[in-house]
Amino acid sequence: MAGKSGRTISAVPQKSFMKTILSWEGILLVLFIGINIFCKCISPVYNFTNVLREMPKYLTEIFLLFPMAYILLMGEIDISVGSTVCLSATVACLVSNAGLPFGIVLLAGLATGTVCGMINGFLAVKFRELPTMIITLGTQIVFRGIAEIALGDGGSVSLVNADGFRMIAGKVGPFPYLFFVVIICAVIFTVIAEKRVYGRSLYAIGSNSRTAFYSGIKVNKVLFTAYAVLGFLAGVSALFLISATYGANTTTGKGFEMDAIAMAVFGGISTAGGKGKLTGAVIAAFTIVCLRVGLGQINMNAQVILIILGLLLICSVLLPNISSALHKTRKKA
């Protein structure tokens, strides 16, 4: 073949310790440690046991973070997950109260979530002209609406027999089972995103979905799978949520979607697609959880906590932009 010029191209990746530390993930890690020190300073009861004990409620949201990160990586969005969690929890509770075995209850919850996710995926694939934001806005209302109907007057269902769910809420030492499941999920999802073909496809679609399609990547399949997985994990999240509330109501899972998106964005994943790492999202999620736990322990006004989170979210995106802009002008001068 050609190559007459004899030019060689280097194929050795350059890795350095400094680079790793100075990546967004590195900064987040520093921030994570900083926030833990900060919380320790402000709250006398901020310790390992208490943080772990307060964590499960937040962990149920972190489940959604992983597949949500996938969807954001593709440049899409899903704002219906909170409703999916609500519907899955409702179905699982109703099935449980109908006296069916616990296995079937779990299955029902997971299946409901998966079906919801598949509906989103189907609509997203069949109507590519529509932004997924608007599709999932619609399904958000519908899923929660169906849960409302299923819950009927009273809008709340509580478990008659919570034994099975009590089991789920168990602990190994100070660690709730949930913690391990989240960590396992985090590892699986990170490895898939970084090392497997599916992950590569995600980044390809998010960076340029047409090139990805032209290059033989089954864009629709990847997209559909991501939505279905998000639905499935919404089901998992719902089951763990039930184990904390022994029931479901019409407000179950409200705001989960925004929390999951915020965590992902804080973790460096761009809603425009193609950019960011799962590791960053995971660290970011735990950073936010620790901060919330710490601030909660000094009984800070919940609204002020939200303001801080909002500022943090904006600053995490704004500051790198500003500093790089300043950098540029300085270089010019």
């Binding site: 806005l137 609406g145 409302e148 964005v265 939200l306 909002g310 979210l313």
Partner: protein
């Protein structure tokens, strides 16, 4: 010749198909509930949904430049709550002043968002998500766990009752809504600024090259959105004679849905004032009609969601049909 092209215009436009949807909806509802199309009822619909309709205009502009703003109801609450507290503690009395303050607060909120997005180059969805928390939180802090109730609002609440601006025929709130629509129609269609908004949304790079100050246009658009949210805050306070920090929570999605139903593209560059109006009307009619036609309260959200999804999908399918007929017409 002229007439034919006019007819073609009507049948070919998305607005026209929405008008048809709206008419069909109204017809179906009035069969079930004949009082639906009474003048009083129509005015009530307009008055109760003035807030959504006015904010749809701002959202139209935001979507036109390819952005999105999910912080609007937080801005609304902050502005509404602030003037509510001002009336409560008798800092201000005049109605006009209340509107001016609310509008100014909204504009400042919007300006901050605009700067962060255009100058700080933060993606709109992220920036406005952050400000959604911030402004809502501030509204709570301003409220001090209190409401500004009817008693506290004094004469301010009479504004929404009076017809003084509407020559004694139409409610003030509706007059303001109509005024906003007229102003926006003129600005978007007949002024340079309006066309710049379309230009930026249609092709940002080209706009920059042809000398349009893209940053300024974007900032302005979010400021306008904030301004309208502020005015809406004052209106909502007046209409419901009460300001609460959790006012209109999550109604921003209704505003976005109204625009999308009205054919405004979320990728920017496409959409009209008429579309936004029709989209908002469709949603308002649905909200009003569901209790009227006797749909069970717990099923109302489902029905509303299904209708939204159906209308949007219908939009896509008609567009596809139109494209297909156009292709078939092509000569080979």
């Amino acid at each position: 010749m002229e007439k034919k092209s006019l007819w073609k215009k009507i049948t070919g436009s998305r607005e026209a198909s929405l008008v048809i949807v709206l008419i069909v909806l109204c017809a179906l509802i009035s069969v079930k509930s004949p009082a639906f199309l009474s003048m009083q009822n129509i005015l009530e619909i307009l008055k109760n949904n003035a807030v959504i309709m006015i904010m749809s205009l701002g959202m139209l502009c935001v979507l036109l430049v390819g952005g999105i703003d999910i912080s609007i109801t937080s801005t609304l609450a902050l502005a509404g709550m602030s003037i509510g507290m001002m009336y409560k503690y008798s800092v201000i009395e005049s109605t006009l002043l209340g509107f001016v303050i609310a509008a100014a607060m909204g504009a400042v909120c919007g300006l901050v968002i605009g700067l962060v997005i255009s100058w700080g180059r933060v993606l709109p969805i992220i920036a406005t998500m952050g400000f959604m928390y911030i402004y809502r939180g501030l509204a709570y802090l301003v409220a001090q766990d209190q409401w500004a109730g009817a008693d506290a609002l004094g004469t301010f609440k009479d504004f929404a009752l009076s017809n003084s601006l509407g020559l004694g025929l139409i409610n003030n709130v509706i007059v303001i809504t109509i005024l906003c629509y007229v102003i926006f129609y003129i600005v978007l269609k007949w002024t340079k600024f309006g066309r710049n908004i379309y230009a930026v949304g249609s092709n940002e790079e080209a706009a920059r090259i042809s000398g349009i100050n893209v940053t300024a246009v974007k900032t302005a658009v979010y400021t306008i959105m904030g301004l309208l949210a502020g005015i809406s805050g004052a209106l909502a306070t007046s209409v419901y004679a009460s300001a609460q920090p959790n006012m209109q929570t999550s109604k921003e999605m209704d505003v976005i849905a109204a625009c999308v139903i009205g054919g405004v593209s979320m990728n920017g560059g496409r959409g009209s004032v008429l579309g936004a109006l029709l989209g908002a009307l469709v949603l308002s009619v649905i909200a009003k009609a569901l209790p009227l036609v006797g749909i069970d309260a717990i099923a109302q959200n489902t029905v509303k969601g299904v209708i939204i999804v159906a209308v949007i999908i219908l939009n896509v399918l008609t567009q596809r049909m139109m494209d297909k007929t156009n292709l078939e017409k092509r000569e080979m």
